[in-house]
Amino acid sequence: MSNAVSTAPNTKAAARTATVKGGQRDKALAWLTAPALFFFVVFAVVPLAGVLILSFASWDGIGAIGSAGLGNWFSVLADPGLYNALGLTFLIMLASWLVQTPISLLLGVFTAGSQRYRAALAVLYFLPLLLSSAAVAIAFKALLDPNFGLATGLGLPFLAQDWLGVPHLAVGLVIFVIAWQFVPFHTLIYQGGVRQIPKSLYEAAEIDGAGTIKQFFHITLPQLKYTIITSSTLMVVGSLTYFDLIFVLTGGGPGNSTRILALDMYLRGFRANLMGPASVIAVILVLIGLALALFLQRLGGKDKQGSQLEGM
């Protein structure tokens, strides 16, 4: 067919040649995705299906895998430990969002300015991003020592608490350390977002006599809508993955007061050797992750969904 078309010397035929070539091109292009697709399917999609299957299995992590039917689901759903972990996961997610978003938004707007010292500040803000969660957790453990830590150093006795021994203090500490580690990253996102707002909007507002605060709420915030959604999505979905930090900082304690879902899954699976129930928790984690991502996308407006995700 392509032969017949290519011999016809008119523009219509040329256009058709292009579409035929387009089809071949698509095939050639499709092969370019093969390696990425292979890795993603084998080490992400298959495990995703695997975790669903394992949630109906009984396995201690070493021996043979047996069937458990719905047993794991019943036992996990009847376990108050699940609801503790769920509640805590959402508490830390919500608190992290409420703490980090305003701080990183304001810092992002602030550091988007052109003065030199702001650029210097932004460099230092970036430091926590270079540290591993293990390093951050270990550093804060030392820092919080009531006798040899920050409290004595700064002469602030109210900081000398048993941070890792009292449940509500431990939760607060986890929220603070998460903010310490991740606000810099979100600041960076907002800084980039602010720099893309057209200056003419502010000039027009200036002429209309709008003050700084009015400009912030009527120009900056609405213009940052998609940046806010991008940052929030990363923050909220990311909050499901604070495993390392909490594992090293508190190990889930005191008691179970900082045992979030991801940690609950690890401890059930790799410490108590109950891979089946742990897989149930993992399935719940996936569902929460997907639900949150879809919800946040929808916030961005349905028609904008495509470009929305691309913004991440």
């Binding site: 089809g23 292009l29 499709a30 370019l32 995705t33 990425a36 890795f39 993603f40 084998v42 080490f43 992400a44 495990p47 995703l48 975790v51 394992l54 810092l107 550091t111 988007a112 010292y117 500040l121 460099v123 230092l124 803000y125 430091l127 991003l129 270079l130 540290l131 591993s132 969660s133 293990a134 390093a135 270990i138 550093a139 453990k141 030392a142 820092l143 040899f148 830590g149 004595t152 700064l154 810099p184 893309q196 200056k199 502010y202 003050g211 700084t212 900056t220 991008t230 993955t241 899954m265 690890y266 699976g269 897989s279 399935v283 996936v286 992750g289 949150l292 991502a293 691309e310 991440m312």
Partner: protein, 301 residues
């Protein structure tokens, strides 16, 4: 707010020195006064970031006696490197090598195969490519932890348990979605005329990809390489679950075990924290500009 300041400064040069942290230059303008809290907040946050870092560094230079006897924030009376010596003697070089191997072994394949996929997704129109793209986008929402149990099972079955390769394979898979997304955003910005002229010159898609798209997306490639590198370098869960031998520890895991073994010797533990961060810090100092501008563009388009 700063943008406001900038634009007003452009209009009226007199308003140029509207430095919020320097109110001494005059409080005449309403805007300058309102920005004092912002400047103050900026500096407070800086203190929150810097004090812990400062504490870790100076404590790592203290002797045990200095740690127990001095004000914790005071500079060490007799600074010592013996903590560093101790950490370095505890196989630090080996852990450093392991981390380097895993990071390079994960990042190079990730960037290469993601670039090819991103190019195809941008250039192609077919339903299959749309589907692939959609799948990768969904992948963004899947937490790595949730799949760790089947990954553990697969790695055992593949006879890869307790090897460095076991850490690379899942790292590659989970880095693909975001890498493809960022790279395809950049490739999309390449003007269509350039692709057209390559096509008219008789170049295949394969040639177009390497000769046109690759050079033009170099900044984005550096960005995703650094971003993924940081993630893999600092990764903790995969090494914790998929390796066992002390000889295969990567830095974050080594830090954690070291902390367990030497919890009485806080200066030594903190020296290990500093040492584990140092290589990344050096890279950061060298490639800061590239990293910051790349990340800004990559995440806030």
């Amino acid at each position: 707010m700063s943008t406001v300041l900038k634009s007003s400064a452009e209009e009226t040069p007199a308003g140029a020195p509207s430095n919020p942290a320097a109110p001494k230059r005059g409080l005449g303008s309403r805007m300058r006064r309102l920005n004092v809290p912002a400047g103050l907040g900026g500096w407070i946050w800086l203190a929150i970031i810097i004090i812990p870092v400062y504490y870790v560094v100076i404590t790592s230079l203290k002797t045990q006696a200095g740690y127990f006897g001095q004000n914790p924030l005071a500079l060490p009376a007799e600074p010592t490197l013996e903590n560093y010596q101790m950490v370095l003697e505890a196989d630090f070089a080996k852990y450093f090598m392991n981390s380097t191997i895993v990071t390079l072994g994960a990042v190079i394949p990730t960037v290469l195969i993601s670039f090819m996929a991103a190019f195809a997704i941008v250039r192609g129109k077919g339903r299959f490519l749309k589907l692939v793209n959609g799948m990768f986008l969904m992948g963004l929402a899947i937490p790595l932890q949730a799949t760790i149990i089947p990954i553990y099972l697969m790695i055992i079955r593949l006879n890869l348990y307790d090897s460095l390769l076991a850490l690379m394979l899942p790292s590659i898979a989970f880095a693909i979605p975001l890498t493809v997304l960022i790279l395809s955003n950049f490739i999309r910005d390449v003007p269509n005329e350039l692709f057209e002229s390559m096509r008219l010159d008789g170049c295949s898609e394969w040639q177009t990809m390497w000769r046109l798209a690759l050079p033009l997306t170099r900044p984005a490639i550096v960005t995703v390489a650094i971003y993924n590198g940081l993630h893999v370098w600092n990764g903790f869960l995969l090494p914790l679950v998929l390796t066992q031998s002390p000889g295969l520890r990567v830095l974050p895991l080594a830090l954690w075990t070291f902390q367990g073994e030497y919890s009485v010797n806080i200066p030594a533990v903190l020296a290990s924290v500093v040492l584990s961060t140092l290589p990344i810090l050096v890279l950061y100092v060298v490639g800061r500009r590239q990293l910051l501008s790349g990340l800004t563009a990559g995440f806030s388009k």
